[in-house]
């Protein structure tokens, strides 16, 4: 079976940002996402209301160049003021085309 390597981008972000980040991901070319709930602590430790709930763990499988753009975008628009971290990994999938534009 032929496997393709694509990028898995994982974003940990405060819950208030859900709509915004998903919107941006779509704009940048991601064709799907998966969200789980998480909580955590980091160095900034700023957090919005507990009512808004905990952190989100957003994952999206994308082509490498899109992964780069996503990291870039997050670094510019979210890292300064919000509790957001992000990282990418290489993963193997069966149908690479599903995750590419």
């Amino acid at each position: 079976m032929e496997l393709t390597t694509v990028k898995l981008v994982t974003i940990i972000a405060e819950a208030v940002l859900e709509e915004r980040i998903l919107h941006d991901l779509r704009q940048l070319g991601a064709r799907g996402y998966t969200i789980g709930l998480a909580r955590g602590e980091g160095t900034r430790g700023i957090h919005a209301s507990d009512w808004e709930g905990k952190n989100l763990r957003i994952e999206t499988l994308v082509a490498p160049e899109i992964a780069d753009q996503i990291l870039q975008h997050l670094a510019t628009h979210y890292f300064p003021h919000f509790a957001v971290i992000a990282y990418t990994t290489d993963v193997q999938v069966v149908r690479g085309t599903k995750f590419q534009r």
């Binding site: 208030v16 915004r20 700023i46």
Partner: protein
């Protein structure tokens, strides 16, 4: 009743004691943790129940009686954020964003403090107008919008889109449940209300007690940030509510509200939002420090109002309202 007696009644009520238990649990580093979903469920329940009861009462209220209190409330929603912003900026020397954030929180309202004040008045036997929840809804939004506009004009806003924030505010869950509940209550009337009363009326005080257990834990977690918050914030979070409370009681009496009603308007004015405002501010003023506004609203003002504020504003009302 003397204020000492009122204080005792209040401090020994199950809801205040449950709040204290929540604080104790956190300070003792207990592993007690209420599920997040329970917290959300209780919030939704409380907002909906408050709205429902208000709506049913509103159905039986004539506009002639309602317009003056509504106007008074709206004016509070404009005056308080301006005052709070000025104090935070001039005296506290806070940044534009931080000052505006505080203004949004103290101008808006805490639904749980409102609910607690009703329970308190029930216990001391003071009556109040049934339409008070409508005033909660009126007071919730304007102050937040005004605070965001101030920040915008003062140039303290970057990155956040305040128009988008206002749209989100108007459809935010707290507004939707409060106003939605009110519409349901208003349309369904007393007959429909009776059907759901076992859930939304009879269980209300118990649910509030349960919720305050959780809120005690949330507030206590905020205590950690107290040292970094500084003396100004501590003073602000205690003196501002008292001033606002006095203002609210006074406006209430001018608008013709009863003793109980004026007390509640005082409580509304004195309370600081911890649901609608934090969410809106986080989005529209991301550079404001939640360690400031949440610690003030939830870590200081909320416990203060719950424990001491309720009897205090009631006592003020007995002096002011004839």
């Amino acid at each position: 009743m003397a204020i000492v007696e009122l204080l005792q009644i209040n401090l020994l009520s199950p809801m205040v004691l449950a709040f204290a238990l929540g604080i104790a649990a956190t300070l003792l580093r207990s592993d007690l943790k209420l599920p997040d979903e329970l917290y959300t469920t209780l919030s939704i329940y409380l907002l909906l129940a408050i709205g429902l009861k208000g709506g049913i009462a509103l159905a039986e209220t004539s506009l002639a009686v309602f317009w003056a209190p509504a106007l008074a409330t709206l004016m509070l929603g404009i005056i308080i954020p301006v005052v709070a912003y000025t104090v935070a900026r001039r005296i506290g020397k806070l940044s534009i964003a931080d000052a505006a954030a505080l203004a949004a929180h103290y101008g808006s309202v805490s639904a749980v403090t409102f609910a607690a004040s009703q329970t308190f008045l029930d216990t001391v036997g003071a009556r109040y107008e049934g339409f008070m929840p409508a005033l909660v809804a009126i007071l919730e939004v304007p102050a937040i919008v005004i605070a965001l506009m101030i920040a915008q004009m003062a140039g303290g806003q970057q990155g956040g889109d305040w128009r988008e924030a206002v749209r989100e505010l108007l459809t935010s869950k707290s507004i939707l449940l409060l106003v939605g509940g009110m519409v349901i209550g208003w349309l369904a009337g007393p007959r429909g209300g009776k059907e759901v009363a076992p859930l939304f009326v009879d269980l209300f005080k118990g649910a509030l007690t349960f919720f305050l257990l959780e809120l005690g834990m949330v507030a206590a977690r905020r205590f950690r940030d107290l040292p970094t918050a500084g003396w100004f914030l501590l003073g602000f979070a205690i003196i501002m509510p008292v001033i606002n409370g006095l203002l609210g009681v006074w406006f209430g009496s001018l608008a013709g509200l009863s003793l109980g009603g004026s007390t509640i308007l005082g409580v509304l004015a004195a309370s600081a939002s911890y649901i609608a405002a934090p969410a809106a501010v986080r989005i529209a003023l991301p550079q404001a420090n939640p360690g400031f506004y949440l610690t003030a609203a939830l870590g200081i003002t909320f416990p203060f109002n719950l424990a001491l504020g309720l009897p205090l504003y009631y006592t003020l009302a007995t002096w002011i309202v004839r």
